[in-house]
Symmetry: C2
Subunit: 291 residues, 2 copies
DNA sequence: ACATATACCTGACTTAAGTCAGATATTTTA
DNA sequence: TAAAATATCTGACTTAAGTCAGGTATATGT
């Protein structure tokens, strides 16, 4: 029972170790020890400060320093004192460093493409990988404000509309619903929050304000591979915090009885059901929460 | 599109590297370098021959030899010449070695249990992990003969019956079907094959003979996480090979129109539809293949 | 029976990785 | 402004890992 689960997890670990090891290997093969390659790649991925590099890679400060020196001698990076605190130092790629980093990226992409090409059922595999990656990286899910017209926001909204279309008995047509103006979901009137796991957008929520003390929660969505991790609740909490920050006292939202998990969440987190407050054709449940 | 897939695979790799690294760490912490610990564990998992250890762990022969010596000096293993070829050597755990191996196993199990405990949606996660592990370990799927009454065989059969119950419009009750006698699915009359990925049973097929030149294929099943990898075809090929080996000339099988993938497989691999040859209530399609 | 191949071992080496005790420069605190 | 704290660096180490050229014992082919 539970030993079966443990066996399955260990099997997963074994299966994945071989693949991951191979990906690690792609960091070799450019004539540079693994440690130096990892530092170069971390810098390429935007981690400039030496302290943050040390934390991320889990290296001793002496070792870190030496690795930076060796990359500097190769002409791949330069280090400068931090503008706010001259004790700290910040590393940045030189032009040669950018090229070398791009070469590593290309290697990693090739390895990933190769792996994908080996599998006939690529879609199922990718979905399963997303689920595992999101679950394992749960502590690292970040919720941040974003422009509701950004690419990632549109990705979320498209998925949200598609899901409504599947789940509502009537289907869903955005043009019939009240599509909020982008400006109403941006500061200072409102905001739009995206949850990302390792950069991949996996959930969103909009706060649509009109400048008054009342605002609406819109577009709460969590991608299927991230459900069951309490993310919807975290998104709602973040939206409420943003609303307080914007001086909003009363929040409202509308929903549909087909969205059972959402209704359950609202009822459990202090929302009270109120009368219909708009003539949108899709919602049949209306809620309010005083902050 | 495809770059999205690559991004997702790389994200999976990043997420998993951290976990796998932590599991690796559990191999430290018993006062022994990683290399020696890995050798000890490989021996504990039944890999006794020095050559096979070397292949499995990818180590140089000199290094391998030294690691074996260090384990020997610790009193954890003994090495003996191979009975068939005195140039080769075989390593085996001593009593102390068995205890030390058990301690490593306990550590690994604890790590896995810990990981599992961290996740509310354990079941979905496990299913996704199974799928990923099976896909990644596809080359390592082994098909072997087994007693049809073994624990792993029962695991497969139970899952098979459950799936029939779900998929047949009428449901499925084993007791109404012709449950084959175990002896008919064992040599010399027939056989029972189990497909395992890294030890986990993921598919099966039975060959039920009566001692004559005709036999029946029964109980073809592939677990959901392993579908789409061509495993059913491999199982059927293995069953046919076993049938030839047993001197069987004519194979038959029955199936149900709800099992569309199976019917498709039979039609594509040289089976021809024939008249009903039994009075089992569930099947509505009957096939034959001459070897 | 001999040469050749195979399987493993030993010794001498290189390299990467990691540790630790100061040294240096800068910032913060009293 | 002096003392303490912080961030990084340098030099001197240790250990693990890996490589390579022989060496020994056993097996195989002619």
């Amino acid at each position: 029972m539970s030993t079966d689960a443990i066996r399955r997890i260990r099997r997963f670990n074994r299966a994945v170790t071989a693949e991951v090891g191979a990906l690690d290997t792609s960091f070799l093969g450019r004539g540079r020890p693994l440690g130096a390659a990892r530092v170069l790649n971390a810098i390429g991925h935007g981690r400039g400060e030496v302290g943050s590099l040390r934390d991320y890679l889990g290296l001793d400060s002496g070792l870190m320093s030496r690795l930076l020196r060796s990359l500097e001698e190769e002409g791949l990076i330069v280090t400068l004192p931090h503008p706010d605190d001259a004790r700290r130092r910040v590393a940045a790629l030189t032009e040669a460093g950018r090229q070398e980093f791009a070469a590593y990226e290309a290697l990693s992409n090739d390895r990933a493409a190769e792996l994908l090409a080996r599998f006939p059922k690529g879609d199922d595999l990718l979905r399963a990988m997303d689920l595992v990656a999101t679950a394992l990286g749960r502590e690292r899910i970040a919720i941040e404000e974003s422009d509701p017209r950004s690419e990632q926001a549109l990705h979320c909204l498209t998925a949200y509309y598609a899901e409504l279309g599947r789940r509502l008995a009537t289907g869903f047509d955005v043009s019939l619903s009240r599509d909020p103006e982008a400006a109403d979901m941006m500061r200072p009137r409102g905001t739009f929050l995206i949850a990302r796991s390792d950069g991949l957008p996996i959930g969103c929520v909009g706060l649509k304000g009109k400048g008054g003390e009342t605002a609406e929660i819109k577009r709460l969505w969590v991608c299927p591979s991230a459900r069951g991790l309490g993310l919807a609740r975290r998104l709602m909490e973040a939206a409420e915090a943003a609303a307080r920050d914007l001086g909003i006292a009363i929040l409202r939202l509308d929903s549909n009885s087909a969205l059972t998990e959402a209704l359950q969440l609202y009822r459990r987190t202090g929302w009270v059901e109120i009368d219909r407050f708009n003539d949108d054709p899709y919602p049949d449940h209306f809620f309010e929460k005083r902050l």
